[in-house]
């Protein structure tokens, strides 16, 4: 189920809130509210494809069992194989669903083999819930976590706001909040900023990201024939689409979490304001960076084993990050680019930091935009064609298929679509660079009549945007 759907907004969310807080009125020892929330989360997860539910349920049971075994064993020698088994199972399942075909396709291609591909649909959010549970498994091995009951653990993994697109929360952030007796009761002080954040996230996703998506789709479909201006608009358009889409989704997660009195950690902290690549990764998909830093970069030695080793560690982390984002060579290449940029920054940090901040921003943002082209393109040829167009200084008119994405409703004054497009880009860039982000505003929420009205308008507008009448033009009929 998606947040931006009728069934979520008009049925699932209100009913789940109602059920959860009604059950929360039972005596404190009663855990029915949590049972209800876990079941609701399974419904949320399996709504479009129930066959995924056993996968996540099995994953929860196995990881919980392994963790409990480790937490009750004193000897490290006993815990180690359990932890390795946990790693093997989690990564094995992830590999089976996400990387198997990529791996086999490349083997077939390289060695002329005929290995059978699975052609499986990727279970929703598998990368997120796998990482989330891996953190608990590894912490259980280290015995740095408390023992939770199965219900708390299941709730930590399945809590639906963060289930399918993150943030990748830690057990220590979520379970204690559910354990807090005060949080069992509906609280307007949390609900109000929750609704505020949800509305803004919804607007970012449904209106801004989905509008850019149309132009970006058209642009990447014509990757080989774009002129310089179009190539820049398409590349920056994707940069904006991705941010508004993903951060919008996280804002909605933050908002829904707050409605349940649960504070979900920040995942996007105005990343495009960054002046260097290190700062970017401290602001973009923060919980993923945190996971990779804690569970890969630090165990590899981090930056404590000399510059050369630090650079190698950085490259490893970014290559894995690329692979985490998707099973494909372009994702790996994207990871490689970010790894290389991080290494370069590490090596030339002092002279770079002495540059004027505006220049730093320009270099950093320019790199990020170019790297996203490789992330989005369906082939290396297309990606290279776009980057080449960006640099060729071959200017020309903007094609209709790109500008029409920004047309006014009803096609009003279509001749000005290119100007509307400029306004969209300018306003969106300003929102990224000049305004406080939704998370900051939500945590510093001040109720006013104005933001009540904008909240309502945003939700109503987005709800109406979920459905439209498609016009069928059949030649002259």
């Amino acid at each position: 189920m998606l947040f931006n759907s009728y069934v979520f907004m008009l049925a699932f969310l209100p009913l789940t809130l109602l059920g959860y807080f009604l059950l929360g009125r039972l005596p404190e020892k009663n855990q029915l509210n949590k049972v209800f929330l876990v079941l609701a989360s399974f419904l949320f997860y399996g709504y479009n494809n129930p066959s995924y539910v056993p996968i996540i349920a099995g994953s929860i049971l196995v990881n919980y069992a392994l963790s409990q075994l480790m937490l009750t064993r004193e000897k490290k020698a006993v815990r180690l194989p359990l932890m390795l088994l946990g790693l093997f199972l989690n990564l094995g399942v992830l590999f089976y669903f996400k990387y198997h075909d990529f791996f086999f396709e490349n083997l077939n291609g390289a060695f002329g083999l005929h290995l059978t591909l699975n052609r499986l649909a990727l279970p929703l959010g598998i990368s997120f819930f796998t990482f989330q549970q891996l953190s608990y498994v590894i912490d259980s091995y280290k015995r740095t976590v408390p023992r939770y009951n199965i219900l708390d653990y299941a709730l930590f993994v399945t809590f639906f706001p963060q289930l399918i697109a993150g943030p990748i929360v830690l057990h220590s952030e979520i379970v204690p909040q559910f354990a807090d007796a005060q949080n069992r009761h509906f609280n307007f002080d949390n609900f109000a900023p929750g609704l505020y954040a949800f509305a803004r996230g919804l607007m970012k996703k449904v209106v801004i990201a989905d509008t850019f998506a149309v132009a970006v789709e058209a642009g990447f479909a014509s990757a080989q024939t774009l002129n310089t201006a179009e190539a820049w608009f398409v590349a920056i358009g994707y940069t904006l689409q991705l941010y508004f889409d993903f951060s919008g989704y996280c804002d909605m997660a933050t908002g829904v979490g707050l409605m349940f009195n649960i504070k979900i950690p920040i995942n996007f902290n105005s990343p495009y304001k960054s002046l260097n690549i290190r700062e970017f990764w401290q602001r973009w998909h923060i919980t993923l960076s945190r996971f990779l830093t804690t569970y890969i970069y630090f165990p590899l030695g981090g930056s404590r084993k000399g510059m050369a080793r630090t650079c190698v560690n950085l490259m490893i982390v970014f290559l894995l990050s690329g692979l985490w984002h998707g099973a494909g060579w372009l994702f790996l290449l994207w990871g490689l680019m970010h790894g290389a940029a991080s290494v370069l920054y590490r090596l030339f940090r002092k002279p770079y930091d002495r540059l004027h901040p505006a220049l730093q921003w320009l270099i950093n943002f320019g790199f990020i935009v170019v790297a996203w082209v490789f992330f989005r393109a369906t082939s290396l040829t297309d990606a290279l064609a776009i980057v080449k167009s960006m640099l060729m200084m071959n200017f020309g008119p903007l094609r209709d298929s790109i500008t029409s994405a920004f047309a006014l409703p009803g096609g009003f004054h279509e001749g000005y679509n290119a100007i509307y497009m400029m306004i969209w880009y300018a306003a969106s860039l300003f929102a990224c660079l000049g305004l406080r982000n939704t998370y900051e505003k939500t945590m510093d929420f001040h109720p006013t009549l104005c933001n009540a009205l904008t909240t309502v308008l945003m939700i109503v507008y987005c709800t109406l945007s979920l459905s439209s009448v498609s016009v069928f033009l059949y030649f002259n009929f």
């Binding site: 009728y6 008009l10 049925a11 307007f188 002080d189 609900f191 109000a192 900023p193 609704l195 409703p409 009803g410 929420f445 001040h446 109720p447 006013t448 009549l449 933001n451 009540a452 009205l453 909240t455 309502v456 939700i459 109503v460 709800t463 109406l464 945007s465 979920l466 459905s467 439209s468 009448v469 498609s470 016009v471 069928f472 033009l473 059949y474 030649f475 002259n476 009929f477």
Partner: protein, 350 residues
Amino acid sequence: MMKRKTWALLSLALLLGTIGAICLTVIVIDPFQVYHLATRYMPPIDNTTQVYANAGIARSYDYDSAVVGTSVTENFRPTQMDALLGGRFIKLCTSAGTAYNHALLMDLAFRTHDVKRIVYGLDVYSFIAKVDQTGSDVPMYLYDDNLFNDVSYWLNRSVLGSFLPRCLKAWGQKQDDSIRDRMYNWAGRDDYGPIALYTASFTPPENPLPADARTQLAQENLNAHLIAYITAHPETQFDIFFPPYSAAEWATMQSKGTLEAMLALRGLCYDALSGYDNVTIYDFSAREDWVLDLNNYKDTLHYGQWINDAMAECIAGGEYAVSSREALDAATEKLRAWANAQIEAGGWIF
């Protein structure tokens, strides 16, 4: 400063109030007539949003007989058919519709009305689509009986922004019985005759499928989307006709290499449909005074309204009913000969 509780309650009240008001307005005005017939305004019915309007037409109009088919059935006049065939006709037509489109409408008609007769235009192009393929995306929420998913209609950007204003603009204009004739009717909109034909840009959708794949698809479509209704409703008379494309259309098929496959579908359809007591098959494909006179056509496929009128009269009189497979094959042979003659001559020769 406002309290958070006040803010939340105010926002929720405004939100529910606005959403509720929009839903109520759409349900009451009902631009697509899925809940009730429009009595106070002229409903927005046009070819570009046909699959939406059709749901309401099938549900809410008063009828006991229907014309079903593609654009070649859209110029039928139900009032004329009432007089000729008896009953009360409605058009359930879909421009460039597939057999599945037609089945969805028949399904809705049978669920909501006591249907005595269906006049079905068997456009062979409708039967070579995939069995679950429709001409354009069909809003299934308007066709099923699930009230919950109607929310896609109640909270719909286009309904609120475009269709409701159109209803309000047409407020006070009441629809009379002639709406049944006028809906989807494109007669008089275009030029007819050889000049129009040769400048026409219309070409049927390319379908690179090999002949056996066409046969397979046609059989599946016939079973799922036509025969299923014929057998489920033995009390309903199905008058199924092969429409009179111009002879130039068959030549076009020959030039694309699809003629034999398309001609074979005629036999396949006949064999599949002719064994039912409640089915009569008509074949107007080889009626020379129609298909060899380009003045009847606006492009190679689409004929003028006078042909629809004449077909209705033929059906009423039982003329051009196909008596046997041999009779159909004889007509098919004529189509083949006309097509080949044009190809040999390099143009229209009749």
